[in-house]
């Protein structure tokens, strides 16, 4: 195994983990029963990411 290939593999692994984490952040609803369980840092991160992928509709 070339070291370059190994480094690329590690970067890919990190990428896959980031994708899962971002998906987890946007998927958990704010009003869920998890609200009490998860730490406030999670909700701060969620708020930052969620606003990137949400806007109110003109119908609201």
């Amino acid at each position: 195994m070339k070291p370059r290939s190994k480094l690329a593999g590690i970067l890919l692994l990190v990428w896959m983990a980031v994708v899962i984490i971002v998906f987890g952040l946007v998927m958990v609803p704010a009003e869920s029963s998890l609200a009490r369980v998860l730490p406030s840092a999670f909700w701060e991160a969620r708020s930052a990411v969620y606003t990137l992928f949400y806007s109110p509709s003109v119908y609201e």
Binding site: L13, M16, F53, V58
Partner: protein
């Protein structure tokens, strides 16, 4: 109410009849198009079967259109019309036994795959079963409770295809392919059986996507990964059980793409163009938003097939000629897919091309702007992430995050030697152009379900590259852990929507009334209203989600502009009396002014009474009868109700 097992059995038998009818329609086409090298593969057989099934679904929808227009959608007629399909299944399944054996052997070959492949395949089967149970058990929600199961409920009760009344009147002009099947299954069984209709459609999507992957050179790992991407996409699994119809247009769209990359052996003839055009027409009639996006994608595939995709070298003149003839053939068969829709709109609205031309009320279907200019820019700038992570109102779920996880793998390892010969690259290019076209034409409409089929065209290249990495071991071993872990996480995330299901099923097993348990807040008050009101009592429905009203109340509800003009009436109570409304069901969150007015009348006049129904937002008002009524809701046979003028 029929037993749960009977409901499931009827839905399965119904799907079998559609498959049989598909065999009958497909028989002459099959002779014309010949065979492909892939036809004996598992994916080839299953994709062919899916295509046949979808042809049957379309053909039977055409039969139901005619029966509906004749007012003959009753139990006996529908049951009788299913018999040819069952006979055809028996006949053709005997003739295609050899193909089935090959498919079974290929499925059995899963056991010889690495354990992680088998585990993912088994988990996908389990999660699909979970969505099937949810489809059968859970109540209609969202748009399904507003239109997609409401109209079929009215058609089933009345046995007649007539324009729907109320807020969604203009929606009666759209293509109703899945809705006819919902109505037929409601006549034969119940709403659970109707919702289950979408499960074989979703499986057809999986089979067609697998066929595309196999055509592009993918093997079993790529096929399993493609199914994982499909079934873990929120915009797919949500519509497997909620009662909406979006997956049928996606299945038709996938079939249209499948046939254009299908490779007959030898590469001759125009049959694939005809098949593709027919399915493109059906996709577009099932969801009008497919016209621009799928049209662009198919144009790319048509040009590729006509020239570059051929195994022989062709001159530019020959390419042009083949593309022209193929394109004309596609246009002709697209029209065939539209014929039942043209017939329906000609009969109901005297405007065959409605809602595009010739009818009022359809324009709002095409002029939708969902977001402000600022929000629209944000959406456009966050493509393609918005397709996966987007949580926008009305979006209806996104693509699986596996798309993003696998994306960098495209740049791993060897390049495709002949990009123009590579089906996967051409499909991805077609999908990409479709998405770009959509973003340009409808930037504020962020909804993958509106162009799902061309979006899925981009999956084969991703899963094939991932398969190369995993099977050829061209990357570090720990990368396989990353891929498998991502797939398992995506499957787990899909189960999120199923979490309330076990407790609801247990409540049902204990004998509790679970009808409204997982439904929207309108369920209980509207059911209570329908139980108190007499059949034929007029109800003014100021809520989007009217599914829970009785069929007679749905048919004689507010019509035309009644709901929107009532606020302008100088004497509202007198107007309600003259229009013969006996109840008003008002969603105070969406119609606050109307609710305030009615609450004021309830406090000041005995003619209006607020019913003591426990609901935070739905308020039900009873209106005393009066002898000034100008209209009456009368029974016109079976459970068909029409408004009659009482004026002399």
């Amino acid at each position: 109410m029929i037993g749960p097992l009977l409901s499931v059995a009827i839905s399965l038998l119904y799907a079998l009849s559609c498959l049989g009818l598909g065999y009958l329609v497909d028989a002459p086409l099959r002779r014309w198009r010949g065979h492909s090298a892939n036809d004996s593969d598992m994916a080839g057989v299953l994709a062919g079967l899916a295509s046949t099934y979808l042809l049957g679904v379309a053909a039977y929808a055409a039969v139901l259109t005619i029966l509906g227009l004749l007012g003959a959608l009753d139990l006996q007629t529908i049951a009788f019309s299913l018999i040819p399909g069952w006979l055809a299944v028996l006949f053709f399944s005997m003739r295609t036994r050899a193909e089935w054996r090959k498919a079974q052997a290929a499925i059995a070959a899963l056991r010889s795959q690495p354990l992680w492949v088998t585990v993912i395949a088994v988990l996908l089967v389990l999660v699909t079963t979970g969505f099937a149970v949810a489809a059968w058990f859970t109540p209609p929600k969202g748009d399904a409770a507003a239109f997609y199961l409401v109209y079929p409920r009215i058609i089933a009760a009345s046995g007649t295809l007539a324009p729907m009344q109320g807020t969604y009147e203009s929606f009666s002009m759209i293509g109703l392919v899945a809705e006819y099947h919902f109505a037929a299954l409601m006549v034969l069984a119940d709403v659970g059986a109707a919702k289950l209709f979408i499960i074989p459609v979703a499986l057809a999507c999986a089979a067609l996507l697998s066929g595309m992957v196999a055509n592009a050179g993918g093997r079993i790992v790529a096929i399993v990964l493609a199914c994982a991407v499909l079934l873990t996409s929120g915009t797919v699994n949500l519509y497997m059980f909620d009662g909406k119809v979006d997956l049928l247009s996606a299945a038709f769209g996938l079939a249209a793409g499948y046939w254009l990359v299908w490779r007959p052996s030898p590469v001759t003839g125009y049959a694939p163009y005809a098949m593709s055009g027919l399915f493109a027409g059906l996709a577009a009639v099932s969801k009008f938003s497919y016209v621009p996006a799928l049209g662009l994608a198919l144009l790319v595939l048509l040009l590729w097939r006509a020239g570059i995709g051929s195994e022989r070298r062709v001159t530019v003149a020959a390419w042009f000629r083949t593309a022209l003839v193929g394109g004309l053939l596609m246009a002709a068969t697209t029209l065939v897919g539209w014929l039942p829709q043209l017939l329906k709109n000609a009969a109901l609205f005297n405007a065959p091309l409605a809602p595009f031309f010739g009818a009022a009320g359809g324009e709002d279907l095409f002029t939708q702007v969902w977001f402000s200019a600022e929000a629209t820019w944000k959406i456009v700038l966050t493509y393609p992430l918005a397709l996966i992570f987007g949580r926008y109102p009305m979006q209806g779920g996104g693509l699986s995050f596996l798309v993003l996880s696998f994306l960098p793998l495209l740049f791993w390892g060897r390049r495709a030697p002949l990009w123009h010969r590579d089906h996967a690259i051409v499909l991805a290019l077609a999908g990409l152009i479709a998405v770009l076209g959509w973003v340009v034409l409808r930037p504020s409409v962020i909804a993958p379900r509106y162009f799902l089929a061309p979006l899925l065209f981009m999956i084969p290249i991703l899963v094939i590259k991932t398969e190369q990495l995993l099977v050829e071991r061209s990357g570090p071993a720990f990368l396989r852990l990353g891929v498998v872990g991502s797939v398992l996480a995506a499957i787990a995330a899909s189960c999120w929507q199923l979490l309330p299901l076990p407790s609801a099923l247990m409540a049902a097993a204990r004998g509790e009334d679970t009808t409204c348990l997982l439904a929207s807040p309108e369920c209980a008050p509207l059911r209570e209203l329908s139980s108190q009101a007499a059949p034929g009592d007029r109800v003014l429905v100021a809520t989007y989600y009217a599914y829970w009203l009785a069929p007679s109340h749905l048919q004689c509800r507010d019509q035309g502009n009644e709901l929107h003009t009532m606020a302008d009436q100088p004497d509202l109570v007198d107007w309600l009396h003259r229009r013969n409304f006996r109840y008003a069901a008002i969603d105070a969150s969406n119609y606050p002014d109307l609710d305030r007015k009615m609450a004021g009348f309830a406090a000041s006049t005995p003619d209006v009474q607020l019913l003591p129904i426990d609901s935070p937002t739905m308020h039900i008002y009873a209106i005393a009868p009066a002898n000034t009524a100008e209209l009456s809701c009368v029974n016109a046979g079976r459970d068909r109700w029409v408004l009659a003028d009482l004026a002399p």
